[in-house]
């Protein structure tokens, strides 16, 4: 059973050279990883394979003997994912071990065809399992990156700014989904309470599309703000979005809408009894 592993362990040095060579024939991303780094990673993986007891089962990767190999491959795949490798490039790293090992096994078994077939089947399924493991870890690493970025975006996406005493604005940027709208709604209502604002301007200049769901979320926010005693003004509606809203049959009759944020701000100032005037200055020439 473990003969193949024994063969690998005895020929560690020659296998390393052959593996590096086989990798160079395949896809090598010199722009993403240096030769020296690749060499050291290859050495590490091979050394780990060789350090397990020779009688370890090749058909069960979950065995305790393979624990350290699994860990090394997993961390390697995760780092590949963040470096920008594709999944197939990451899998190829392991798969390119196949041909050197096959050559080695062929050399060892001589003319015994049955033994050659048995060994190759064994080592083939072993390396396939390793490759699948790297792919799984790779995708897991990607998922982690994506979910972290999502969290960061959620944190960034709800800045409520005070425009004037009693007037707050919420500039929305990006697509609105249910989770985001919930946070947007809560932070706006919180800000209304904290700043004691009678007017809230929701600016949707940065929202690329408005569908029925987004409109419904916006209407909910506006209604909730009204229940608390604040007036909401919707601004930054682009012509295209105005067309979409009408075509979708969304009723914005009860909502004050303005084309630009400045118009909304002006209205809020007017309603709170303020006006903006230009001060005429006598321009004196420099002496």
């Amino acid at each position: 059973m473990a003969q193949v592993l024994n063969v690998i362990q005895r020929n560690q040095a020659s296998l390393l050279t052959a593996w590096m060579k086989s990798m160079q024939l395949g896809i090598r991303r010199r722009d993403l990883i240096s030769e020296a780094e690749l060499q050291s990673q290859t050495e590490e993986v091979l050394a780990t394979i060789c350090s397990v007891p020779a009688e370890s089962p090749l058909d069960n990767l979950n065995a305790a003997a393979w624990q350290s190999l699994r860990e090394i491959l997993a961390s390697l795949s995760v780092s590949r994912a963040s470096q920008g490798f594709t999944p197939s490039e990451t899998a190829l790293f392991i798969l390119s071990l196949k041909s050197p090992v096959f050559a080695l096994v062929r050399q060892q078994s001589g003319n015994d065809a049955d033994q050659l077939y048995a060994s190759i089947t064994e080592i083939d399924s072993f390396i396939d399992k390793l490759a699948l493991l790297t792919t799984d870890s790779f995708i897991h690493g990607r998922d982690q990156v994506i979910s972290r970025q999502q969290e960061e975006m959620l944190e960034l996406s709800t800045p409520v700014v005070t425009l004037w005493d009693g007037i707050v604005a919420l500039p929305l940027i990006g697509t609105l989904d249910s989770a985001r709208t919930q946070i947007v709604m809560e932070s706006l209502l919180q800000a209304i309470v904290q700043t004691n604002s009678r007017f809230a301007i929701i600016d949707i200049t940065g929202v690329p599309t408005v569908d029925t769901l987004v409109a419904q979320h916006l209407l909910k926010t506006i209604t909730a703000a009204r229940l608390m005693g604040a007036e909401c003004i919707l601004s930054g509606i682009r012509p295209q979005i105005a067309q979409t809203i009408v075509h979708l049959g969304i009723n914005l009759q009860d909502v004050i809408t303005k084309a630009k944020l400045s118009d909304a701000f002006k209205l809020a100032l007017e309603r709170s009894g303020r006006t903006v005037t230009r001060i005429e200055k006598t321009i004196r020439p420099n002496q």
Partner: protein
């Protein structure tokens, strides 16, 4: 029996809800308030719910009913100080309470009521002269 106090300020009534509303309490408030409005001929009702943290559809509907009843009795109702969580809950329950006037706090609610309810003819004349 537990009751919510109703305070009188001139021709306005002031209700501050400081305990958790349960259904019976809400109905008692509805009875008391309508009776008080009719008795005193109040022109405005201010309901402060800033301490109210839990609201259900029944309480929401009762508030709407109180406002409508007050309207029938010729009094304006303003609900002030609704908490964000309460507002979100009401909206999620599909109760946008379209008939109710709202204000941020007691101060702005009072301001609104004093503006809209000046039934005394002499007071109205004062306002006209100021204009």
């Amino acid at each position: 029996m537990e009751r919510i106090p109703i305070l009188r300020m001139g021709n306005l009534l002031l209700v501050t809800i400081q305990v958790d509303m349960h259904d019976k309490l809400a109905l008692t408030l509805q009875d008391d308030l309508t009776a008080k409005i009719a008795d005193l001929g109040a022109k405005g009702v201010l309901i402060d719910i800033s301490s109210l943290e839990i609201v259900d559809s029944f309480i929401g509907r009762t508030l709407a009913n109180i406002a409508s009843m007050a309207r029938v009795l010729d009094a304006q109702t303003v609900v002030v100080g609704m908490q964000p969580a309460v507002a979100i809950t009401l909206v999620e329950l599909g109760m946008s309470l379209p008939g109710i006037r709202t204000a941020l706090n007691v101060e702005s609610g009072m301001e609104y009521l004093q503006q809209t309810t000046s039934p005394d003819l002499s007071e109205e004349a004062d306002v006209d002269r100021e204009d």
